[in-house]
Amino acid sequence: MSNANDRLAARAAREIRPGMVVNLGIGLPTRVVNHLPGDFPVCLHAENGLTGIGPTLPPDRADRNLIDAGGAYVSTIPGSAFFDSATSFAMVRSGRLDLTMLGAFEVAANGDLANWKIPGKFSPGVGGGIELAQKARRVVVLTTHTDRAGNPKLTECCTLPLTARGCVRRIFTDLAVIDVKPDGFHLIETAQGVSVAEIKEATGAPLIVSETPLPSF
């Protein structure tokens, strides 16, 4: 499983183009950074007020005032900048964020995303997720293909409270890479050793598969 998640993070890392400004959500997305070359030209944004996130640091080398939005002690790189929370979300809402990678409870075939609340079970608040999902120029999701009980997370419609409507463009899972297009989910890559039939079985909505062989990751 951890291997599969590493592979998915490595695949998702190829989504990041040189020069992009990128926000990586808490959880799986955070791991993507480990799969970028050390000198890759990218500006990572932390919504608590930092552009140019550097590597995470162990406590003995950490700066007590320097965390990312997930609370991890991080570092700066040459050219990093600090700013307040209003400026941070001004960047997000005014379109300066090229890409965000988010986790998901559910993604619907129309691109709807639910990732912040499970009524009666989990309601910590939406944090910055809603603005990232609604305003980043490109939103991709990193998630396991099914939940712990084996139920599909890619579905016809979201049943949970939405984070944002129609925002997801691409989904990276442990089984597949799937694009969200006007006509629904398109399978574009498969994980090594996973069959298209297995992916269809684990997906809660129709999956459009081209005739031509798909690459795997």
Binding site: L66, F82, D84, S85, V126, G128, E131, Q134, T163
Partner: protein
Amino acid sequence: MRLTDKQCSIEDAIARIQDGATVMLGGFGVPGTPFALIRALVRHGARDLTVIKNDANEPDMGVDHLLRSGQVARLITTHLGLNGHAIDLMNKGRIKVEFNAQGILAERIRAGGAGIGGFLSDIGIGTELAEGKRMIEFGGKTHVIEPALRADVALLHAARADSFGNLAYAATARNFNPLMAMAADCVIVEAEAVLSLGALDANDIHTPGVFVDHVTELAALSEEYAVVQR
């Protein structure tokens, strides 16, 4: 011309806070949280408070002390994920919680500080976050009207201050602090160091002292600021 000295003791500053007050607290997680001022507010005992803070810190830390002492009636926040105790109080109906999208909370506070009544935003439209909010068509688009937020008191943490209340924050400890500094009738600052006038470069001041009413130098840094493995 010379600028006035706004230094006073934590106790004198906090004594101004009345029952029923709305209190903004700086900080995102640990950095920028005014832990010493919060402890003084617990000692002071003002009740029925509306607290505005990005998060509720962690159990037995910062905001959580105010929750445990029963001083908080209402919490306006964005995320309580690190404080299960706060979520528990919310679920039991012991405190009212109003969740805002994080950037919308920041912007509402800044609007209060800018002396405007509110702003138009499309954030949350189509989700339960927008439910119950007044909508308006403007410029060919649908917006929700987000009301400005102001507070009676803002409690802030700065890395460096001068005696007039000019402030500089360190790294990501800045977060909501400069916004709240603009948006409260009484702004009280704990600073790791209070320097003499002129010690801060006029170009590098994050909060001009005009916004600040009282500044106090911390005798020692709160234990919460120690780096720990989380």
